[in-house]
Symmetry: C2
Subunit: 666 residues, 2 copies
């Protein structure tokens, strides 16, 4: 403990207090090597005492420890799991707030049980978000501060928009939100996992379809149009896409920690410089980025890099998703902030990327088909199959596929009541055996060099109930309605969300999640735009254009009973229609995913002739595209399963047609 | 001219220049009686010279004359047609900008021809909005101002949001937008029509269903919830609705010029005090507003009235649609601005209003049926029927109906190529004969004491082409899809817009207007919310709830050839469905409009069985509701026409079903 005390005194003397809006230069990330010598784990008591001591030095009464990193990443590296270090909670989303006398952790319903098990209630109060009577973070802060108190944040770990919002809320009650130069958890965290230093992977033209120099040239066109001199790129997948590089710093997302500043003349890359070896330098040359165009600098120099351009009077463009640290580094009159222009470029795949996505989905389809066939023969046999062991088997089938790199997320392998939990993923605590008595939902995906996949199928290995079949069929009707929609260029995602829900709404049903999310090409499984959601205010919910890719994933969930979701990745393509209103172009979708939809769960009486035709056409294509791969992979059992699973469904005759539900009282 | 000169000097001495954000008190509207003595019409030369002389006194280089009134009304009284006085242009929408050396009028494509005919090009440049190369008002201003110039506006005639926007645009180029206390046109306008002074009409409980005191009590609940002390109401229909009074100050809209300030204790009504006679005072008492609750003050005292509350430190609530004059009268820290809370209350009709709307639509249906029957027998006969004479005949049939007050807008009576012009209304210049060789579109409505109507039917009196029938049937499919939709409470209008367009999108067709607008109960034919549009950012496009009323009006327009629109007024009602997701309630629509849809224009092969059933059910109801009225009105010819027009359509047999258009490449 003595060492820690001395350390605190030494650091306190160096502390620079940043008032909101100030500029922090030379932020050090993990460079206090001399202070890292004692890596003996600290007790919760010590951790919180040390943080509170630092809080007093900073004159703050509350300190916010969010579960995000400096790049607004979806998955958080171990190095950035500060909230986990201070709370012991290992879930993926939560916010901790430490005051001088208390501490509280907010997490959503996915994690209520897990957080209860993991946190020590003598130090932490669990705030179960979504339950009645649970205060929001804002409310709790306002109740626990003394007059005129200050609240501290790490400006790298809070979005500029949220900093502004929270700052206003606090100011209205006479409090003050301030940005601290150092992260207090980092100071205390003596056994912090280092950032990964694995080599970067150059991605060739055969996968990217566009040289980095050409991507950067397009970005510069946008800068020119906006009257900006430079763009600061904070999202990891945007840096990776722009430079045609991939990494392994974050689970499931093939990215690496970096910032970039693109000007009309230079490309400044801020990352671990050790990884920019001769291979990467050669890659830059191949990509048209000749020395001295690319300037590689240390990750921690980003604010200094911005400041050089600020001091030269340049106008800098930022994304609306950037951190407060980057935002505050640029004076308002030199700052432009917009929905990320790089995200919008990245969202529209080029021909090479689109072809890669299609090929990756066919191989991925082969893996999923082999898994579904394997389940059919294995479940109910001598070997016990569980949610976890099933997911492992699917992983194994995927890793046999060419160009496989990794999974794209933890599989939602969910049986029976677990399938009704939208964001479920199995753990040893919850792992259920998969049997012939219930619904099984498998939502999974992988990273291949040529594309990212995400597919959900729902099956009954035994006999489904009539209600399960009705729900499945209504989900399928929405899924087919979206997939076959013809729509004008720049339609909003709400259009597709409406089509996907209509058949459920017809009988008063619905689902509580979005209908579709964009997806990267060997990048994040969730990327935006596009976004197919009912929230008309979402900025990602706008302007669908050709060669965007999205998931199409309506569902239905009967709590405690069963869950249904059908999910394909669809590509926006030109529609072949007889007219062209205002010359704006008609679009439709092409489903990249090729995995049979279980016929046993379909109530054909609820389908229209057009829907049956559409489904039969799809199954014919699944058979044609996936069949040969199964034979190549010598899985004749899976091949036989595929042939049966893709057999034509008979159109219901007009006589047998159940009367279509008549709604409305027109 | 001498008189005018003297007048100008006198007024100039009194001028108070208001800098943006300042507060103007005691604004005088039309009180300079002594200056009105010479009403000899001035020449355009004199009008512009005098305005320019005033502009120099004010040190402004440009003066904006918009086509709006101080209440953001849809229709503008003659008293407020300042743009018409300065330009001679009589169309309903346009903006004039006068500089020291030039003048330009912006108007949209509806009025390009009319404006060309009406304005004198030696004084005015016509800016044809929507045509390529035509500068926007912003662009034109920026090009015509000298460095540091000031632009003048009447703060009563510009929305606070637009004032802010334009002010920012001008400021970015070093110019300055300023608000002038006096309207320069009013000073010059020596023969200005007076405001109308007809008596007000108290509307009884049998039509309103809620006493004014109860409406005001609900508004006060909202004020309380928002922490506001008072609300300033600027929209005329909101004042009329709140006080259960109607007027005739504006064509088609039964409203009267007034503002209101509602506090927790008082109701301040700012209007022409002469019209608040004993009848109206008795009405206030009947409505639960006992003296001294209601304080009636002169219309021109609104800013003084606001100022009293401002000086007392109260917080005042404004609508986002309020004028800059009201906005600037309240300091930022005492001002709350929201989408109008009164508009949101008014949008949800109570049971009495809803029943009145239904009854009004049945009577209106009888008038329209009589007209359509009359057209069938008259067109092609000895008497020439034209767009104008047809509309007059329809007006006559309407005025025979009980509780009829007036039309609700100028009928769009449009034949052949004219029907392809969305906002067409016939004039003597454009009036076409209605013949058996072309499509006739009639979009019309009326004001009844118990409700407002708006209906469109499209008919072919001869033989329609196959393409016309396909287009009509696709419009009908969208119309039926919206009408029969089941949807969750609080769905956005984009949901309905999508459903209405889908059948057109399927073949690459569409229409260039919104799908639905809210409608008043004996108030404006257009009121918001709701709004069924694709624009997801529209604040009226949110939160549909039970007993809102909207139009349902998809269309298709083939320029120069024909136009199709089918429009009903639909009421949001509870849906009878087996499930209730999250207990939020399922809703659907009830069509209030009861007028047959012409079967001759329907290609039954394109309809599903459900669509045919739905249409037959509707026609059965039309026959049942309208038939008895026709017999009462002794129009047996119209009755026979109705019986035939509402005969059942046969369901296409399964064999004869054309293959449904297969879209998508899934």
């Amino acid at each position: 403990m003595k060492r820690a005390k001395r350390y605190l005194v030494a650091v306190s003397a160096l502390l620079v207090l940043l008032v909101g809006g100030g500029v922090a230069l030379g932020r050090a990330l993990n460079t206090d090597d001399e202070l890292m010598e004692d890596t003996t784990p600290k007790t919760m008591d010590v951790i919180l005492s040390e943080i509170r001591s630092l809080m007093q030095d900073y004159s703050i009464e509350a300190y916010i420890v969010p579960s995000v990193d400096a790049h607004n990443s979806e998955y958080i590296s171990l190095h950035d799991r500060r909230y986990q270090y201070v709370t012991n909670f290992t879930g993926s989303a939560g916010t901790a707030i430490i005051t001088l006398t208390g501490a509280a952790l907010w997490t959503d319903s996915r994690y209520h049980l897990q957080a209860e098990n993991e946190i020590d209630p003598s130090y932490w109060t669990l705030m179960r978000e979504g339950l009645a009577g649970v205060p929001t973070r804002d409310q709790w802060l306002l109740e626990h501060l003394s007059p005129g108190a200050q609240v501290g944040t790490d400006p790298f770990l809070i979005a500029s928009t949220e900093y502004e919002r929270l700052g206003t809320v606090l100011a209205q009650s006479g409090y003050r939100l301030i940005a601290l130069e150092r992260n207090l958890v980092d100071i205390v965290w003596n056994n912090r996992p280092p950032q990964t230093v694995e080599e970067l992977r150059p991605l060739g033209y055969e996968y990217t379809g566009q040289r980095a120099a050409d991507k950067i040239s397009t970005v510069r066109d946008t800068l020119h149009a906006l009257g900006a001199n430079a763009i600061v790129i904070n999202a990891l997948d945007e840096v990776a896409w722009l430079l045609n590089l991939r990494g392994t710093d974050i689970l499931y997302n093939p990215v690496f920690f970096a910032y970039a500043i693109i000007t009309h003349e230079r490309v400044h890359l801020f990352t671990n410089t050790e990884r920019i070896n001769e291979t990467i330098r050669e890659h830059f040359r191949t990509e048209g980025l000749m020395p001295p165009v690319v300037d590689v600098r240390d990750y921690q120099d980003i604010l200094a890099g911005i400041d050089e351009y600020v001091r030269d009077g340049h106008r800098l463009l930022l994304s609306t998703a950037c951190s407060q640290a980057l935002y505050a580094a640029i004076p308002a009159e030199q700052r432009l902030q917009q929905y990320s222009v790089v995200a919008k470029l990245k969202a529209v795949k080029n021909a090479v990327e689109a072809a890669g996505m299609q090929r990756a989905h066919v191989r991925d389809g082969a893996a999923v088909v082999r898994y579904l066939a394997w389940l059919e023969t294995t479940v109910g046999g001598d070997d016990n199959v569980t949610e976890l062991s099933g997911a492992a088997q699917l992983h194994a089938f995927r890793s046999e596929q060419q160009l496989f790199v990794d999974l794209s997320f933890t599989a939602i392998s969910a049986f029976g009541p677990n399938s009704a939990i939208v964001h479920y993923s199995p753990s040893t605590d919850t792992d259920l055996p998969i049997t012939r008595d219930g619904i099984y939902l498998i939502d999974s995906g992988a990273q291949y060099l040529d594309g990212t996949t995400d597919v959900t199928r729902t099956i009954a290995l035994g006999q489904p109930t009539a209600f399960q079949r009705e729900c499945f069929t209504r989900v399928l009707k929405g899924f087919l309605s979206l997939a076959s929609a013809v729509f004008p260029t720049h339609a909003s995602g709400t259009v597709f969300d409406t089509l996907a829900r209509k058949a459920l709404w017809d009988v008063g049903l619905d689902y509580g999640h979005g209908t579709g999310h964009g997806i990267g090409a060997f990048l994040g499984v969730h990327e935006y735009p596009p976004s197919f959601v009912s929230n008309t205010a979402s900025p990602s919910n706008q302007g669908v254009v050709e060669n965007m890719f999205s998931s199409n994933e309506p569902g239905y969930y009967e709590a405690g009973q069963f869950g249904i979701r059908i999910e394909d990745i669809v590509q926006v393509v030109r529609a072949d229609v007889p007219h062209d209103f205002n010359g704006r172009g008609a679009l439709t979708f092409y489903s990249n995913t090729v995995v049979p939809i279980q016929r046993k769960l379909i109530d054909v009486q609820l389908l229209s002739e057009a829907e049956v035709t559409s489904l039969n056409k799809y199954h014919r294509r699944v058979r044609e595209q996936v069949g040969p791969l199964l034979l190549e992979q010598n899985d004749s059992e899976a091949y036989r399963w595929l042939i049966e699973a893709t057999e034509e469904i008979n159109t219901p005759t007009a006589d047998s047609l159940a009367p279509v539900h008549q709604n409305g009282t027109m």
